[in-house]
């Protein structure tokens, strides 16, 4: 068994990795891990005042510190019924533009581009792309400058507070930002053309659900009070758990999310997919020029979407400055007196939807829930890595090539791992890997077995026959496909027990090879999806899906009629013996 690791994955912000296990011709395991330790930020702020919370909770992540600041402020102001003056809201938006520009230009030029032009890092890339590297730095510096002037410093600035700002930037500083933004335009277009015309590989491709905040009024933007999905569904800010439904997986200290049992993606690509048609002016024209169907299914286009957003930001800054100076009479800060309340703040961080939920009781923080973009993307990162790894393996690619592609995929999501990961690990499974795994699964809790297949189609009958044999030996919980399709109570009654499906699975391997796969990988692999499986996975909740497995035996033939092949039969006896042994041990 081969294991491909990129662990730690360099050039992502934070400390994490992706590891992929290959057993012969099957990718049997994909894990996206966050190596960083727990920081318990959501608990640190409990018992503090709302003002202390506003200063502490954005320290989750340096890269998105302004997004966290805007999110916690929106949450607090919703909780304490604070309405900020128009000028405050506009200057906060300008500050947000600074972070978008800084983060996107760092990511596209310094973290992503070296992969596409064949250099280990941006500094080495400078030997050939001297101009780009230099001007990209200036662009990043401009974003930082905006954050420093408005926020107080580059990272974790304390000037934005509940009700407004300690101090407004001066008109002179604002006009400088406007004229500097206009000066950058030629390079901004160069950036857009470069990243929209980059030669992105076709693999991986798959549908997903995209989610972002809706700024309302049919405008493009980076915050709002509703979450809008590419399916057209809307979720009000306080109901965010409908989308995120967080749960914790054991190989990672970042919490994860999943929408209705389906993974979803957030970030620049999600925003462009959901509301790109609202872009106006030059960014509207460029959206029409470059956006196409590939942007809907290929995560590598995150880079192109970020470049489009850089243009959007540079167009937005002069507009914002012109608006801000209209409100010369607005106060920098408004007072508030409320001591109780619950509020949710939705913000688009550069890497996607960021949710802050804060509850205040007796003037002190009582409960905090923060859902970061990387936590929401983790499932899709694993899924797209699985799809890429299996597809490249099918086409005969070597481990190195698979590893390179996985890095490209993970990096495209621009994961900020401190907010919750450095990256890919590809390893070969040891012989008889399935035996170790099945023992581990059975040690935790006694499993429910389900035989799947068509007994009238030669080797495809092996799952059913295996189930029947198992049932004969002991009174364990064994079902046949035909017995459970209608039986919804089965899932409820056995919600904590692992489900093991027994079936013939074609991996183009030698006949009789046994493979154990996590069920969500089976669902991601079109070649393996049995017509029965979508039905079953629709009945299971996500926790069950995570605890479901497919024990597959490589068939020789699944033609109508015919006997089960001898190698398949032998594999079946092996599996049976192993299962019975494992049960005896437990």
């Amino acid at each position: 068994m081969t294991k491909i690791s990129v662990n730690p994955l360099a050039r992502v912000e934070g400390n994490g990795g992706i590891s992929v296990t290959i057993d012969g011709k099957a990718v049997t395991d994909v894990k996206f891990t966050v190596n960083e330790g727990p920081r318990l930020i959501e608990r640190l702020t409990v018992g503090r005042t709302p003002e202390e919370d506003v200063s502490m909770s954005p320290r989750i992540c340096a890269i998105c510190s302004i997004s966290h600041k805007n999110a916690v402020l929106r949450a607090m102001e919703n909780a304490l019924s604070v309405e900020v003056p128009a000028k405050v809201a506009l200057i906060r938006e300008l500050m947000h533009m600074g972070e978008m520009i800084e983060s996107h230009s760092l990511h596209v030029y310094y973290l992503a581009l070296p992969d596409y032009v064949g250099f280990p890092n941006a500094i080495a890339m400078a030997s050939k792309y001297d101009f780009e590297v230099k001007i990209a730095l200036e662009m990043k510096h401009f974003g930082n400058h905006i954050m420093k002037v408005i926020g107080g410093r580059y990272i974790h600035g304390e000037n934005p507070v509940i009700g407004g700002f300690g101090k407004f930037p001066t008109e002179q500083e604002l006009f400088w930002m406007k004229s500097r933004a206009i000066q950058f335009m030629p390079f901004v277009f160069k950036t857009l053309n470069l990243f929209c015309e980059l030669d992105y590989p076709n693999c991986p491709e798959d549908d997903t659900v995209y989610a972002c905040c809706d700024p309302g009024d049919d405008t493009y933007g980076f915050w709002g009070d509703e979450i809008l999905l590419s399916t057209g569904e809307r979720i009000f800010r306080d109901d965010y758990k409908k989308l995120t439904n967080e749960f914790i997986v054991s190989h990672s200290y970042a919490k994860r999310s999943r929408f209705n049992g389906k993974p979803y993606s957030v970030g620049a690509l999600a925003r462009v997919n959901v509301m790109g048609d609202r872009l106006k002016n030059e960014s509207g024209k460029m959206y029409k020029k470059y956006f196409n169907d590939r942007w809907k299914t290929n995560p590598l286009f995150h880079n192109a979407a970020q470049a489009l957003e850089i243009l959007y930001c540079f167009e937005r800054i002069p507009e914002l400055v012109d608006d801000i100076v209209q409100y010369s009479e607005d106060p920098a800060i408004v007072p508030y007196t409320k001591k109780e309340g619950t509020g949710t703040g939705l913000v688009e961080a550069p890497r996607g939807l960021l949710i802050h939920h804060h509850e205040i009781k007796d003037g002190l923080v009582h409960h905090v829930d923060i859902v970061t973009p990387t936590a929401q993307n983790a499932e899709d990162i694993e899924r797209y890595c699985y799809i890429a790894a299996q597809k490249l393996l099918d086409s005969g690619k070597e481990e190195d090539q698979i590893r390179d592609r996985l890095e490209l995929v993970v990096r495209a999501f621009d994961p900020c791992i401190s907010c919750s990961a450095h990256m890919a690990d590809v390893k070969k499974a040891p012989p008889d890997d399935w035996k170790n795994k099945i023992n581990k699964i059975m040690k935790k809790n006694s499993p429910v077995f389900i035989g799947v297949g068509r007994p009238d189609r030669s080797d495809d009958g092996v799952g059913i026959q295996l189930a029947l044999e198992l049932r004969k030996h002991r009174g364990y919980d064994v079902f046949l496909e035909s017995e459970i399709e209608e039986d919804e109570t089965l899932w409820e009654d056995n919600s904590d027990r692992p489900l093991i499906f027994l079936d013939a699975v074609d991996f183009q391997e030698e006949t009789g090879k046994v493979t154990l796969l996590a069920m969500n990988h089976v669902l991601n692999n079109v070649a393996l999806s049995h017509k029965f499986l979508p039905i079953v996975s629709g009945l299971m909740n996500y926790k069950q899906l995570k605890n479901a497995y497919m024990l597959g035996i490589q068939p020789q033939s699944i033609a109508n009629g015919g006997e089960i092949n001898d190698s398949v039969k032998k594999a079946m006896d092996d599996v049976l013996a192993e299962l019975l042994d494992a049960m005896d041990l437990n």
Partner: protein, 260 residues
């Protein structure tokens, strides 16, 4: 060709990655930084990292897993000079708030439930000098650009880094701010190491203490001054604890005895 340049590694343990990011934020100086030193390892910036002998290791973040202790000890073995950068490395960071083991455990469970983590064991957050000898400290949440560049230039040039023995108040006076403590605001300037340029006070906001405690700070005097200004004991203890990591533990223990 890099033989006579100092070999430098930049490492991240648990934190927000703000200190490493701040180094990348030195846009105008970044190319010079990479030219003046042989940057052997810097995960946030490059993928061809080498873990070999080092002249200087800059370590960001606090230790919160068993794996990080091993990593840190390995860095110490390979490096002639180890520098703690940022509040998490120098003092344990925000995440060191739960100094009591039982309280920490309870809170870990509240966030992560009883899920058993398979890759490494979680620990209470500690600054890096809890596990290894540290040669220099560069505090800040995150570190400041001016302080970092001064520090880096001297280190690369073979000189010992400048010391910053003053509290925030010294710079604050140079900046001609009027004293917020006198106005009755809970400003922690007198307790806090200098290096930020008194940025919060420049914005009419009280100092939060995010550079960590300055050596020789008169904690007792600040405590009673804030009491006099009408703040309650619990609030003062909390704001003094927020950014001081594990460093003021002795003071808090003593205070506990004194006021009870």
């Amino acid at each position: 060709m890099n033989n006579n340049k100092p070999k430098i590694g930049i490492y991240e343990l648990t934190g927000c990655a703000g200190d490493a990011l701040l180094i990348l934020d030195c846009e105008e100086e970044l190319l010079d930084i990479f030219q003046a030193a042989d940057i052997q390892s810097f995960l946030m910036a490059k993928s061809d990292n080498i873990d070999g002998e080092l002249d200087v290791a800059l370590v960001e973040g606090s230790v919160t897993t068993e794996k990080e202790i091993e990593e840190l000890k390995d860095i110490r073995q390979r490096a002639k000079i180890v520098v703690a950068i940022g509040l998490c490395a120098t003092a344990g960071g925000l995440q060191a708030r739960f100094t009591d083991p039982q309280e920490w455990e309870k809170n870990l469970e509240k966030v992560y439930g009883d899920v058993e983590m398979i890759h490494t064991k979680a620990l209470q957050s500690k600054p890096i000098d809890n596990y290894i000898d540290v040669d220099f400290y560069l505090p800040g949440c995150p570190i400041g650009k001016e302080q970092f560049l001064n520090f880096f230039t001297r280190l690369v040039g073979g000189s010992p880094p400048e010391k910053y023995p003053n509290p925030v108040c010294v710079t604050c006076k140079y900046n001609e701010n009027s004293c917020l403590l006198k106005q009755g605001l809970p400003c922690l300037g007198p307790l806090t190491a200098d290096g930020c340029g008194s940025v919060c006070i420049n914005h009419n906001l009280p100092c939060l203490g995010c550079w960590g405690p300055v050596e020789g700070a008169n904690l007792t005097s600040e405590f009673y001054l804030l009491k006099e200004k009408g703040f309650d004991t619990e609030y003062i203890k909390k704001i003094m604890a927020n950014y001081s990591g594990t460093k003021n533990k002795t003071f808090f223990d003593q205070l506990e005895k004194e006021i009870s």
